[in-house]
């Protein structure tokens, strides 16, 4: 025997994950061209905590997940589950790959392309709702959901902005970003002046030593 965990368990978990992922991709039709372009790529994710290996095979039909792969891999990344989550949700995947805790081996460009496909999913709820509830009710519900999500996004952005203003301006719990930047600029300037003063003092001391001798 080569594996200690019953393969039925991790295969079932991967099957469920794959089904969920592909169902989501089905609801976001514009993601398909991006995946088709990555059809010949294989991505290996080696998770160290928890220990888990997943191979991603993107294609026109969606993404196939496997726990084993025999053959060349386009990109291999190794890290903890939290590092993978950070990469998946990052707005700047290149920076996350460089600065994060992930170890990358292979070509990073296809990996970034895959991350962008997954990060920019735009799910169209209307198609499944219409097929389940009918044209009129499905459309109405989809409209309501769209408005609710849109309002939710705006409300969340507004709340974040107001909270930031309260913390910085009203409660003065933390200084505003511009003030902090000014402070650091002044500090830097002061550091440069101190350096210049120190070198002048050293030159003066040398001149004094020469005059005495």
């Amino acid at each position: 025997m080569t594996t200690t965990i019953d393969p039925t368990l991790h295969t079932a978990a991967l099957a469920a994950l794959e089904a969920g992922l592909n169902r989501t991709l089905d609801l976001s039709p514009q993601s398909k061209p991006g995946l088709t372009r990555l059809e010949d790529c294989v991505f290996a994710l080696h998770c160290t905590a928890p220990t888990l290996d997943i191979y991603l095979h993107p294609g026109a039909q969606g993404i196939r997940l496997a726990s084993t792969h025999h053959g060349p891999v386009t990109t291999s990344i190794k890290g903890e589950a939290s590092d993978f989550t950070e990469l998946a949700t990052s707005r700047d995947p290149t920076a996350t790959l460089i600065n994060g805790g992930l170890e990358l081996d292979g070509d990073s460009a296809p990996l970034i392309a895959l991350q962008q496909v997954l990060a920019t999913l735009d799910i169209d709820w209307e198609a499944p709702l219409v097929s389940t509830l009918g044209d009129v009710a499905g459309h109405q519900l989809a409209q309501t959901l769209r408005r609710t999500f849109s309002w939710g996004k705006q409300a969340s952005a507004g709340l974040t902005r107001q909270l930031e203003e309260f913390v910085h301006e009203e409660a003065r719990v933390s200084p505003p970003q511009l003030e902090v930047e000014d402070f650091y600029r002044d500090l830097h300037e002061l550091e440069l002046r101190v350096d210049r003063l120190q070198s002048r003092a050293e030159r003066l001391q040398q001149r004094l030593r020469k005059t005495r001798s």
Partner: protein, 249 residues
Amino acid sequence: MNDKETTHFGYKEVEKDAKADMVADVFHSVAARYDLMNDLMSGGIHRIWKRFTIELSGVRKKNAVLDIAGGTGDLAARFAQIVGPEGRVVLADINDSMLQVGRDKLLDQGRQGNIEFVQADAQFLPFPDDSFDCVTIAFGLRNVTDINLALRSMLRVLKPGGRLLVLEFSKPQNSLLSKAYDAYSFRVLPVMGRLVTNDSESYQYLAESIRKHPDQGTLKGMMEDAGFCQCEYHNMTGGVVALHRGIKA
């Protein structure tokens, strides 16, 4: 005195020449409701076992795959998707009823172009030497009259470096699970068979044939004797099913 060679058909000892026809009768009887019975008997877990088989097969684009005893085409359908239009999948089954159900199902799913359907006996595969990158046989080997002959035939049609995967019922590794499995196989399965396919005898044969099938270690040894190298097996669901893999050197 009868000096003809015998083999087992479930718990019965039968003449070797007669087994193929008897097995054929079993599958003629259950073909129409084979998928439904598989789902009912295994609680859908057979799909997970087959998925793991596909993962371990290492099949890639443009590969040629032979699925022996392919029945209703579960593995062949997935392989056809993986190998793509430039690949080739052959669904072979000795039983014409099963082959017909499989062919209709795959054609109804729109799968065509890279799938061929061949009625063939696993012991005498009608393909040239070194033809396939991968050969699979799922829940079929125990029904073959001469397993050694079938394994040698599979080795012959594999390309050097090609893989054979045998997915088959095996021996549970836990005594408690083994008892529960026995009770399920001999008490529940025949009743289920009678209710769904109106045929309890076929499912009685299923339970008996599983007990007569070589266990994990024995089958691995048989594969090595046939000429496969790097043979290994993976127990699944506590050993109820085992996936054996061997490579042609």
